[in-house]
Symmetry: C2
Subunit: 137 residues, 2 copies
DNA sequence: AAACCCATGCAATAGAAGTGCATTTTTATG
DNA sequence: CATAAAAATGCACTTCTATTGCATGGGTTT
């Protein structure tokens, strides 16, 4: 089992207190977090620091960025050995219209999508909206 | 062949000069338009009017709203008899990473997506990014 | 003609995202 | 250990999209 420090170092991310805290926050959260969620969790810290920390995580590919259509970017830790870049590895995301939370469905990969002749597919974003398991009962 | 006036009236949208112009603008455009595109096309008109006109069109379901992941909402006329709401009728959208335009692939319906037990799917947003036919050559 | 509804215009606000620069903290180097 | 360099953090400010309140005015209805 890798420690958080090891995860960060393996991606050439300097270990700082703030980064450890944010990583842990994302790891414990079962749903994708907005920057504003992170702000609320760390009120002492400056917004810019949180913003840049998450940005670093995204650039170094330990966090992926989710556009669920709400207009607010969400973030979630990548799975181990995830290759966010590779099209065939991407999972789909579910956004609950009731509780407003967004969940990574890491076991549900995106099916092959056909595009017209002449078009070249590089990335795919697939978001399903509806009711999550907690809200559908 | 329905006139624009008839289209609007059939959806209980009052016909005004502005609305006819915006409808025509969207009809002639081959790609999805941003509010800012519409602004540039009608510099004499107030932004709010354009905003509310498009909003009306969306609410009355003659225009659909596209979130292509750029963070800027795009708009495109619905196909005739389109039912934007119904999951099975939705087409996918293509966003070109080069020319930055977004295109409705109205002939490419979204495949059936499986979600985990307990989740209820109501809408699906599928955006493919890459190179469009004009940019891939 | 009068009353009313609704589209339009203007001004202001909200909210997310991003940037420049000063300061502090960490790391590297002698 | 002392010091210089590099990187992270904090604060202020900006940009850009989206949205709302309120006044005005044109068209519709009675
Ligand atoms: Mn995810
Ligand atoms: Mn479309
Ligand atoms: Zn829910
Ligand atoms: Zn293109």
């Amino acid at each position: 089992m890798e420690t958080i420090e090891q995860v960060l170092e393996s991606k050439n991310i300097r270990v700082t207190a703030m980064r450890l805290l944010i990583y842990k926050f994302l790891a414990e959260k079962q749903v994708a977090a907005t920057l504003s969620d992170i702000e609320k969790a760390f009120e002492k810290a400056d917004r810019t620091t949180l913003y840049r920390t998450v940005k670093t995580f995204v650039e170094k590919a330990i966090v992926h960025q989710i556009d669920d259509g709400t207009g607010i970017t969400k973030y979630a830790l990548c799975e181990q050995d995830c290759s966010c870049e590779i099209e065939t590895d991407l999972h789909l995301h579910f956004h609950c219209n009731n509780c407003n939370e967004t969940i990574c469905l890491t076991d549900h990969k995106i099916p092959k999508i056909k595009v017209p002749d002449g078009f070249i597919s590089e990335q795919i974003n697939l978001v399903v909206k509806g009711l999550c398991d907690k809200c559908s009962a």
